[in-house]
């Protein structure tokens, strides 16, 4: 039982750290550079925020 509780706490802690760092990272503005839009549009990576930002700018 204690094991399960420790497991849940550990996961919750790491999730919290991840969400915190994710939100913090989103808030820091990126010093923009030239991105090749064709390559970026063809890429299917979900974790990359560049594509989303590009489409927002347009």
């Amino acid at each position: 039982m204690t094991e399960a509780i420790i497991a849940i706490i550990t996961v919750a802690l790491i999730v919290f750290i991840y969400i915190g760092s994710y939100v913090l990272n989103r808030r820091v503005p990126a010093p923009y550079q030239k991105v090749d839009e064709a390559t970026c549009g063809a890429c299917s990576n979900y974790a990359c925020g560049v594509k989303q930002k590009l489409s927002e700018e347009r």
């Binding site: 094991e3 497991a7 550990t10 750290i17 550079q33 890429c43 990576n45």
Partner: protein, 202 residues
């Protein structure tokens, strides 16, 4: 104290013999996706090297100080992917804040790393090799980091070689349906054949 040969063997073995891309098939996505230009291949390799080293230290400590003593190894997959993902976020944030130059070099490649199976794969392999049981906690950490370094160097080596080949392939006349990825895969297969010849060195 463990002998220096262990480190040498760890580097050579994870760099050349069990090459992360051509033998273990980890990190094939960036291998095919970001290898069109030598410059971007090197940038990607640098980002992978850095994150791989830090991630293997963090996950090793997490595994042997928290997960293993409490007998909750079964959450290691969740824990590791989250550690890697938050590490990438933190590194990206720091680079954005403090070094424009580094961001220009690595910025585009950092987010791609979360989906890169090379990092999670090497972390899992390090845990499965049981370095801590073989060498003790501290020395095991050193060996794990060394083999992670070797894997990253192997990744960089293959990325560099492959991007150089691809730059020439772009100029070659290739049948229409073979253009791009198919011919690159066949080239990668031939490279894998070459690496097969390195087996048995150690």
């Amino acid at each position: 104290m463990i002998s220096p040969t262990v480190f040498f063997v760890a580097i050579v073995s994870s760099m050349l013999i069990n090459n992360i891309v051509l033998m273990r098939f980890l990190g094939v996505c960036p291998f095919l996706g970001v290898s069109r230009k030598t410059e971007s291949a090197l940038g990607m390799s640098a980002a992978v090297t850095f994150v791989m080293l830090v991630a293997s230290v963090l996950t090793y400590i997490l595994y042997y100080l928290v997960l293993d003593p409490f007998g909750i190894e079964y959450i290691s997959t969740i824990a590791f992917i989250l550690v890697i993902a938050s590490l990438v976020q933190l590194v990206e944030m720091f680079i954005k804040r403090f070094s424009q130059k580094l961001y220009k070099m690595l910025g585009i490649y950092l987010p791609l790393i979360v989906t890169n199976c090379a990092i999670l794969g090497i972390v899992e392999i390090n845990i499965r090799e049981n370095y801590a049981v073989q060498y003790g906690f501290g020395a095991g950490l050193a060996v794990a980091v060394t083999s992670a370094l070797g894997a990253a160097l192997g990744f960089a080596l293959v990325m560099f070689a492959f991007s150089s080949i691809r730059e020439r392939l772009d100029a070659a006349t290739v049948p229409e349906s073979w253009k791009g990825v198919p011919i690159s895969l066949v080239v990668a297969g031939i490279m894998a054949l070459a690496f097969l010849g390195l087996g048995g060195i150690v």
